[in-house]
């Protein structure tokens, strides 16, 4: 897989192997998990004040849900614009979609970690993808999304 920045600030992904492209297609699915631990992580209490927590749930949480959903939809739309070639899949992440991608990748990573119960030491390990080992696959997916998110953060750093 090759990644490079276009002149207009877009991130170009080229020669993406079908296996990795399939993982990209799972970003929105993983991020939209309805696991209770994922929900608790996405919408943490803002304080120990019960009244504020209630207000937060009714006023802030719905706004955040819309924001997270919107980021996932942007990612899905960009993936639909991908094209297949002999050497793999090519696609572009427009500069203006960088924030949505960082959000969706972050959502997916947090959801995977919560669902799988990963701790810091788990995530520090180098893991090869193993289709027969769901935990190893989840760790690989977490790492792959982290790599892509890191690339997007660095691009933001360069342009800010």
């Amino acid at each position: 897989m090759k990644l490079h920045a276009a002149d207009d600030g877009a991130l170009l992904l080229e020669e993406v192997p079908p296996f990795l492209f399939r993982l990209l297609g799972e970003i929105a699915v993983r991020a939209a998990s309805d696991h209770p631990r994922v929900e608790a992580r996405f919408f943490p209490d803002p304080a120990s004040d019960d009244e504020l927590i209630e207000d937060w749930k009714s006023l802030v949480q719905p706004e955040l849900q819309v924001l997270f959903q919107s980021a996932r939809e942007t990612v899905q739309a960009d993936l639909r614009g991908a094209s297949e070639h002999k050497k793999g899949v090519s696609m572009r992440i427009p500069k203006t979609h960088g924030d949505a991608w960082m959000s969706a990748l972050n959502q997916a990573r947090l959801a995977i970690a919560e669902e799988s119960g990963f701790r810091e030491k788990d995530m520090a390990a180098e893991v090869a993808p193993d289709p027969d080992d769901p935990r190893a696959m989840a760790l690989f997916q977490l790492g792959f999304y982290g790599f892509l998110q890191e690339c997007l953060v660095r691009m933001q750093d360069k342009t800010s």
């Binding site: 943490p44 304080a47 955040l64 960082m102 947090l110 810091e120």
Partner: protein, 96 residues
């Protein structure tokens, strides 16, 4: 002379609106360190050095007070941090 009630002041005091509040960011093993620093720069306008210092404090000490001020603004900052999926809370700042 009879004393006059001062409801505005009372309301402010009851809600703790006139006391300083801290915005605290808590450690999270999943969020990338570079991403956390980027969000600090965007939300609070920190320099790269200040953002990195707070990010490292979160990473090593488990939490960092990133801002102190009015409760209303603290709530707004916590909402922005939650929008970026950072673990953040607000808490009354200890009185000196």
């Amino acid at each position: 002379m009879p004393s006059l009630d001062c409801p505005e002041k009372e309301t402010l005091e009851e809600a703790g609106l006139d006391e300083p509040w801290n915005v605290v960011v808590h450690n999270d093993p999943v969020n990338l360190m570079s991403y956390v620093a980027l969000i600090f720069r965007r939300v609070f306008g920190f320099s790269q050095e200040k953002a990195d210092a707070h990010m490292l404090e979160v990473h090593h000490k488990g939490r960092s007070i990133v801002w102190t001020g009015t409760r209303e603004k603290a709530e707004l900052y916590v909402q922005q941090l939650h929008a970026h999926l950072l673990l953040a809370t607000l808490e009354p700042a200890p009185q000196q």
